[in-house]
């Protein structure tokens, strides 16, 4: 037997909280998707990864 009693107010608040949670989740997905889109727009990227790669250093004059 439940030790708490639910009220209609709890259902309304749950509905509101669920809506907020889904909105936040959608926002996270949106930012993720936007990041992927921006990265693919800039083309393939490379970076230094602790090994010397002449092709990367030649352009920078290092």
């Amino acid at each position: 037997m439940a030790i708490t009693r639910t009220h209609e107010l709890h259902k309304r608040r749950f509905g509101r909280n669920l809506g907020v949670a889904l909105t936040l989740g959608a926002f996270v997905l949106l930012v993720f998707g936007l990041t992927l889109a921006k990265l693919t727009e800039t083309g393939p990227t490379e970076g230094f990864d602790h090994t010397m790669r002449p092709s990367l250093s030649e352009g920078t004059g290092q």
Binding site: L9, R12, R13, G15, R16, G19, L34, K38, E41
Partner: protein
């Protein structure tokens, strides 16, 4: 703005849908559509995800200004029949909540549009929100019968913001899209005001029907419809127009002029006799007018994409 009594009891907690209602979803749908067309007809292609994000936050920016409008106008919304069931006058949402939501969503929309596209579009969106909330809602709406003429610019900015999101600037084509909505707004709202007159009168909002009477309003509707008439064909002849836009705008403007003429010809007594049938018909047509005009622009953009355009 009136003082609201403090939140009475927990029974008045709002549901999620009440907060959505604060954003004026029906107005948002027009913002979404016109901004989308502005983005799609722009000569710079946009990644679908970037475009989706841009339109989403342009729409949410519009929704935020709706929430701020409801916050400021809670007192007159309570009086007017048309707006009595809005979340604040109905007691479902507190005014302070609408203010907080409006401000937060405004900031978020502007920042996200800037991150997704460019700073110019973000600044333009910020200006649009400012224009609607401060210039129209706070200043003009209760002060002058020309309120919706000037304030209508806020509703005309979205296609320009969509264009700016794609191109980073504005152009004559974007200005023409702005002008269509700007010139359309007065006959659209004034035909509504003709059969909602008592609502505005009781709320002491200086709508033209209240300050200058129905006859002057009918005359103004005709004048603004005449001023609107050349804008559509000009758009049709521009680089974003084409055969669909040109033919659609010519036909739509002739029909709109016919309706405006019919409104001008009749008297208030005649209108009351048939419960404002002509005014209601013209108001409904004005919604279709805008939808079809922007739809024609999209059609021409698609034709150009397929290589079938005239340009």
């Amino acid at each position: 703005m009136s003082e609201l009594s403090p939140s009475l009891t927990a029974e008045h907690d709002a549901e999620f849908g009440d907060y959505v209602a604060l954003l004026k979803p029906r107005v948002m749908s027009l913002v979404i559509f016109t901004a989308l067309v502005g983005l799609l007809v722009a000569p710079v292609p946009v990644h679908p995800m970037v475009g989706f994000t841009a339109i989403l936050f342009i729409a949410l920016g519009g929704g935020a200004s709706g929430a701020l409008n409801m916050w400021w106008d809670a007192d007159i919304d309570r009086i007017m029949r048309r707006t009595r069931s809005r979340p604040i006058p109905a007691g479902r949402v507190r005014a302070e909540e609408a203010l907080a939501l409006g401000l937060a969503l405004s900031a978020l929309s502007v920042v996200m549009l800037g991150l997704a596209t460019n700073l110019f579009a973000a600044a333009f969106l910020a200006f649009t929100i400012f224009f609607y909330v401060v210039i129209y809602t706070v200043w003009l709406k209760r002060w002058t019968p020309q309120n919706i003429v000037i304030g209508g610019a806020a509703g005309a900015f979205p296609p320009m913001v969509g264009w700016a999101a794609a191109t980073g600037s504005v152009s004559i084509e974007a200005v023409l899209m702005f002008l269509i909505i700007f010139m359309w707004t007065p006959p659209h709202f004034w035909s509504l005001a003709l059969f909602m007159k008592s609502d505005y009168h009781e709320a002491k909002v200086p709508m033209l029907t209240v300050t200058h009477g129905a006859d002057a309003t009918r005359r103004h509707i005709l004048i603004y419809t005449l001023l609107l008439a050349p804008v559509g064909p000009a758009l049709g002849l521009s680089s974003i127009g084409g055969p669909a836009t040109l033919s659609a705008t010519v036909i739509l403007n002739l029909l709109f002029l016919k309706g405006a003429w019919a409104i001008w010809r009749r008297s208030t007594a005649e209108a009351q006799a048939d419960e404002f049938a002509v005014e209601k018909r013209v108001f409904r047509f004005s919604l279709i007018y805008l939808f079809l005009t922007f739809g024609a622009l999209l059609l021409d953009a698609s034709l150009r994409h397929l290589g079938w355009g005239l340009v």
